[in-house]
């Protein structure tokens, strides 16, 4: 929720593929793919260094974190020796990296569960919630964006754009509270508490409880993606193929639906990959507000109780998902539009 929405065409790529020097694509798709994957690996490594540094920035270090404030100096020394914390920092980092690679993210201080188990239990539910929000949002945002582009600079375009900024400026939790007040408290249409349960099936068995969380999550995505869709459609409406199709006698409506829509969707779909971190942030707030038992709520409870292994494990998993998301987005774009292959930062 923290990236200003681009207001004009051309700013579309600014999110991730910063306008790089227009360099001729060196080599073909294979070379692009290798360079891009290597770059993603480097980013993941840097993330792991940041997370490791955070672990060591804890007051009193990890030993104090596990043993608590009352631990004696001897206990801490024993704990550090047992867990390799007396080793040189570089060795500690390497062993942290090795353990993370094998999926061992440590034990939660409080949940009596390993961090990877705790995440594995909740991640599918978060993916379900964000996936539903995303589907609802795209179903609304695509037609709205195309409509705005076709009616560009008319009153209706102006008002819809303003509405998008207002929606974007509304904190997700405030929006959720308003929906609770209106649709749950006043109108009594939907429950304000999200479905509970361990698996996805438990959650899906209570669809009424999903309405408000999904809606709350969808509104900011609509605000952002209707603007992407608008500028992408505008770019395409100016292309030669539109004039050609029109000159051959194809109706305007049919050109928009059959040609422009398809071409405009490509960059917007790729944008979804770059948008992942924003969606995870939104999920955190929605889950906390509606008490939805996903990864965001797990993270929030861990922050309340200073459960550092869970906090850092979640950060690692989410960052990994983000890197993979933008990697996929770049690859999808490179497959569909070879011009972007040279634009590697």
């Amino acid at each position: 929720m923290t990236t200003a929405i681009p207001a004009q065409s051309g700013a579309l790529e600014a999110g991730a593929a910063a306008p790089a020097p227009v360099r001729a694509a060196r080599g073909g798709f294979g070379r692009f793919l290798i360079r891009r994957v290597l770059q993603a690996l480097v980013v993941v490594l840097v993330v792991s260094v940041i997370v490791f540094a955070l672990l060591h920035a804890l007051p009193g270090g990890p030993a104090r974190g596990v043993l608590g404030q009352q631990a004696s100096a001897e206990q801490i020394a024993a704990f550090e020796a047992a867990n390799g914390l007396d080793q040189p920092v570089v060795l500690q980092y390497l062993s942290f990296l090795g353990r993370s690679l094998t999926g061992d993210l440590g034990e939660s201080y409080l949940l009596n569960q390993s961090v990877s188990d705790a995440i594995a239990l909740r991640l599918p539910k978060t993916l379900l919630l964000t996936g539903l929000s995303l589907v609802v949002a795209v179903i609304i945002a695509v037609p709205v964006g195309v409509y705005q582009a076709v009616r560009r600079n008319r009153a209706v375009d102006y008002w819809l754009s303003t509405l998008a900024i207002v929606a974007y400026s509304t904190p997700t939790f405030f929006l959720g509270m308003l929906l609770i007040l209106l649709l749950s408290q006043t109108a009594g249409l939907f429950p304000a508490a999200a479905p509970q349960g361990n698996g996805i099936t438990d959650v899906l068995a209570q669809p009424a409880g999903l309405v408000l969380p999904v809606l709350t999550g969808a509104v900011p995505i609509v605000a952002t993606f209707s603007r992407y869709m608008r500028s992408s459609t505008l770019d395409n409406l100016g292309e030669d193929y539109v004039r050609t199709a029109r000159a051959k006698g194809t109706g305007y409506r049919s050109v928009v639906v059959r040609h422009v829509l398809r071409n405009s969707l490509t960059p917007v779909v790729a944008m979804l990959g770059y948008y992942l971190p924003v969606m995870f942030g939104g999920a955190l707030v929605v889950e906390q507000l509606f008490n939805y038992p996903g990864m965001g709520l797990l993270f929030w409870s861990a922050a309340q109780s200073s459960d550092f292994p869970v906090l850092l494990g979640c950060v690692l998993v989410i960052s990994l998902a983000t890197v993979v998301g933008s990697l996929l987005a770049d690859v999808v774009q490179a497959v569909l539009d070879p011009r972007t292959r040279g634009g590697l930062r």
Partner: protein, 278 residues
């Protein structure tokens, strides 16, 4: 057309600027007009609806006057938002300008650091950091600034990449200007349009982020408060219909963030040469 004319032609930008001015005056001068007790609690006057006992917007669960609280909370939200936004812009501009100007391996390394930072969603990093350091006003500004400099760094780097090959930069180097002088006197001043426009959005985003952190209960601690923290306090009374604890701080955030976005769009009209014809 003068810069001011171009700005005022965007009516929303004018509305935004006026709304901003009003909200700043409300937060800064409001307590002088409507002085209230915001440290000592008064449980005898808790949860009063608007208009009762001289409380125009009622009171909260601790008996604080809600209108007065909205003002002092606004001071914190605006102060943290503006300073964190400025800090992020300064850090991002320096980082991006150096990376774009130097290029090569240095650029690649500096940009991978930015990529890694962007891969960690800000709100998660902020929650981790606020469990490590005590969230005071000053600390919030520093932490928010350290988390939000990445996007401006990317933007300024892209600008610097195009500026570095311009004749005036080449000329400055040929006349013997040091790299440091070239970056500070030629590269950064020529990206100032992008910097200023982005700073506006940066402040808007910082105000939103402070609200999120406070709403999640990990922000600035009582009796100091901000608009997000007021919403966090108010949500417990949402089922008793205490709308006056929810709507005023919520709308204040929406208005100030909207206003900043409108002003940013207006400023973009002023500095964006390409957009002038449109």
């Amino acid at each position: 057309m003068t810069a001011l004319r171009r700005f005022t032609r965007n009516r929303l930008a004018v509305v935004g600027a006026v709304a901003l001015a009003v909200l700043v005056l409300f937060a800064v001068l409001g307590p002088l007009v409507h002085p209230t007790e915001q440290v000592v609690t008064d449980l005898g006057a808790a949860n009063l609806p608007p208009g009762v006992d001289g409380h125009p917007l009622g009171t909260d669960a601790l008996g604080y006057d809600n209108l007065g609280r909205l003002m002092v909370a606004g001071r914190v939200s605006l102060l943290v938002g503006v300073l964190a936004g400025v800090l992020a812009t300064v850090l991002g501009t320096l980082w991006g300008a150096v990376a774009g100007y130097v290029g090569g391996v240095v650029d690649a390394v500096m940009m991978r650091v930015v990529d890694a930072g962007i891969a960690i969603p800000a709100i998660f990093l902020l929650l981790v950091l606020s469990t490590i350091v005590r969230p005071t006003v000053g600390m919030m500004i520093v932490v928010l600034g350290l988390v939000s400099w990445l996007v401006p760094a990317r933007l300024i780097r892209a600008e610097a990449l195009s500026v570095r090959t311009r004749d005036y930069v080449v000329a400055a180097r040929a006349m013997g200007a040091t790299h440091r002088r070239t970056v500070l006197n030629h590269v950064i001043p020529n990206t100032v349009g992008t910097v200023v426009v982005n700073a506006t959005f940066q402040v808007a985003d910082a105000i939103l982020l402070v609200a999120y952190i406070s709403f999640l209960g990990m922000g600035i601690q009582p009796p100091t408060t901000d608009w997000g923290a007021m919403l966090n306090d108010g949500i417990n009374y949402i089922y008793q219909g205490a709308w006056w604890l929810i709507l005023p701080p919520g709308l204040a955030i929406v208005i100030v963030v909207c206003a900043l976005n409108f002003v940013g769009d207006g400023l973009r009209d002023v500095v964006d040469v390409k957009g002038r014809a449109a």
